[in-house]
Symmetry: C2
Subunit: 81 residues, 2 copies
């Protein structure tokens, strides 16, 4: 089974990396870009896991290892069963 | 309009960051994890852009600024019209 986990900064947290990208895009003439937020994506292959098992361990993994729950939030989805 | 762009390493490119995460997960007892690939996600707000305009500029932005086309690939989607 393949899952995708998106880890992004909480809305209330400043994102200097995203700001830098926005400024670079403005410099290149992309003035339509109002805001950029940058985060991380993890694509994880789980061996022989059922959907139930994935629903148990993926949020656990995200919370313990992939995201910092103080400043980040995560969403996840199953890509391949 | 809000779009999401996922930038990930091409399949043929080694991902030491992902390997490190996989090893950490194994150490924690998550032996179901066979493979981890790490990438970047960008959520971009475009001011007053039509879908047509987004279809023109988003791949351009991804190719020129967000991804390194030698080693990375990207996909994108519209989150909010």
């Amino acid at each position: 089974m393949k899952v995708r986990i998106l880890v992004t900064l909480k809305e209330s947290v400043l994102d200097p990396q995203g700001q830098t990208v926005r400024n670079a895009l403005h410099t290149l003439g992309y003035h339509q870009v109002r805001d950029v937020r940058q985060g991380k994506v993890f694509e994880i292959e789980l061996e022989g896991s059922s959907r139930e098992e994935a629903e148990k361990i993926v949020p656990e993994i995200a919370d313990r290892v992939l995201a910092n729950p103080i400043i980040e939030k995560f969403t996840w989805e199953i890509l391949e069963a």
